[in-house]
Amino acid sequence: MAQTLFHRVGGFAAVSGIVMDFYDRILDSEKAGDFFDGVDVDKMIDHQTRFISSMMGGPSAHTDEQLRRSHANLKIDGGSFDEMIDILCATLKDHNLDSEDIAIVRREYESRRSLIVVDLG
């Protein structure tokens, strides 16, 4: 069986570093940071760990319906979603992931855009 991206980048040891870094950067972001403000730390870390792991083909835990429901009240706009993806991809790049692998992750996130972003128009 082909190795998943999750295992290729070094499993949990590597992914945990990426999650931490991403979490730091997103909190600093002017555009997207507010969505993460006031969220319980444990919940936030749990969410990011599960999500980044699943995007990379590691142990996953989210169904589309769960994603839709958990983001429905946040009213996330397209621009913030773009920013979040950009920050994640920049983080992955700094953690030495191949551009091909980063493209895979970007596609995975993009394919869930409609579950996260609320059309404010």
């Binding site: 949990f12 945990s16 999650v19 931490m20 979490y23 909190l27 600093d28 940071g33 507010d34 993460f36 403000d37 006031g38 730390v41 444990d42 870390i45 749990d46 760990t49 599960r50 792991s53 590691g58 142990p59 996953s60 835990a61």
Partner: protein, 349 residues
């Protein structure tokens, strides 16, 4: 550089928040950058958010020289929740009542802890899913092979064909299956066959026999393997009679009447897994051929057998002799029907 310079630099650059407080007026004599950042000290000579901590006053009041006090606190600094451990110690000093405040930032540690917890839960859940999947796969394999053969396959990856000198085989087929009124409705046929075969499986299991396979409307079972059983002939005969009785009962309450022929025979059998990727456990040998021939000679809703199996059964079953017949590959044999009334006492088994 003198020792004071080194101390000054050390206190500034160390990754710990440090402050020295005058216990009399609760004002800092010194505080480093980490301390100022974490407690959001905006004005020199103040303690920032540390000053608002109730524990601070409580701990400093009455602290003797050499005494210490610890407390944990959480603060919010620009969207981040900081988990800080504060260690307070009273310094020996001749002039001023000084207190040293050491602050360790445990935020990362806490975050790592919750991350490991989250990941462990994920792994545990995956393990549970895997286990469930494995059990499902095992259950499927157990449908096509006896448990002991499956255990052998699991342990060694292969199984050897095994010869069983003493076993009994049952063959059942439905009469005029293709001409039945529901023959044009495959879904209905499958549903009824499934119902019937499921009940056969229960009967087979009840008597310690093994279902080997079904082919269309044919059903094949065996007794005496993979574990040998001296009662193999009796067990298969009991199962055969209950098959017939079950069908009779079922036909009374259902629109479609299913009429079966059953043949049973004893003799040597070879059991083996056939196939590599698609496993099928099958049996071969004289007992299989003979049971098939008995089944073909059986009348509707009868169980047919022949000598020498009859010797093993005549003590507990009533046998109705049908006369001698030439059986291809086996010579002249006396054929018998199992009297269905023999089933009357089967409930007691």
């Amino acid at each position: 550089m003198n020792i004071d310079d080194i101390s000054q630099r050390l206190m500034t650059s160390v990754r710990v928040g440090l402050a020295i407080i005058n216990a009399d007026d609760m004002k800092p004599v010194f505080s480093n950058e980490h301390f100022k950042k974490w407690f959001q000290v905006e004005e020199d000579g103040t303690l920032g958010l540390l000053g608002e901590q109730e524990e601070l006053v409580a701990s400093i009041t009455g602290l003797e020289p050499g005494g210490t006090f610890n407390f944990d606190t959480t603060l919010k600094v620009r969207r981040r929740e900081l988990s800080l451990s504060v260690h307070i110690s009273c310094l020996e000093s001749d002039s001023l009542p000084l207190v040293l405040v050491e602050v360790h930032n445990n935020t990362r540690l806490k975050e790592m802890e919750s991350m490991i917890q989250s990941y462990s839960k994920m792994v545990e859940r995956n393990e549970r899913d895997l286990k469930r999947e494995k059990e499902r796969a095992e259950k499927l394999l157990l449908n096509v092979m006896p448990k002991s053969v499956f255990e052998e396959l699991k342990a060694f990856g292969v199984t050897a064909p095994t010869r069983y000198d003493e076993a009994s085989v049952l063959m059942l087929d439905f009469i005029a299956f293709t001409e039945m009124s529901i023959a044009d409705d495959p879904a209905a046929i499958v549903s009824e066959l499934n119902d019937i075969f499921t009940n056969f499986d229960r009967i087979v299991e009840q008597f310690g026999c093994e279902r080997i396979k079904t082919i269309g409307d044919a059903y094949m079972a065996v007794s005496g393997l993979p574990e040998s059983n001296p009662d193999h002939a009796r067990n298969i005969a009991k199962a055969a009679l209950l098959f017939i009785r079950y069908l009779e009962q079922r036909n009374k309450t259902h629109k479609n009447a299913w009429l079966a022929r059953v043949g049973i025979a004893s003799g040597p059998v070879i059991g083996s897994i056939v196939g590599v990727h698609k496993y099928v456990y099958d049996i071969f040998g004289p007992a299989v051929n003979l049971a098939a021939r008995m089944e073909r000679r059986s009348d509707p809703m009868q169980v047919t057998l022949c000598s020498p199996m009859s010797d093993n059964l005549k003590d507990i079953f009533r046998l109705i002799e049908k006369g001698e017949e030439e059986i291809k590959g086996f010579g002249k044999l006396t054929l018998y029907n199992l009297d269905p009334s023999s089933a009357g006492h089967l409930d007691a088994f």
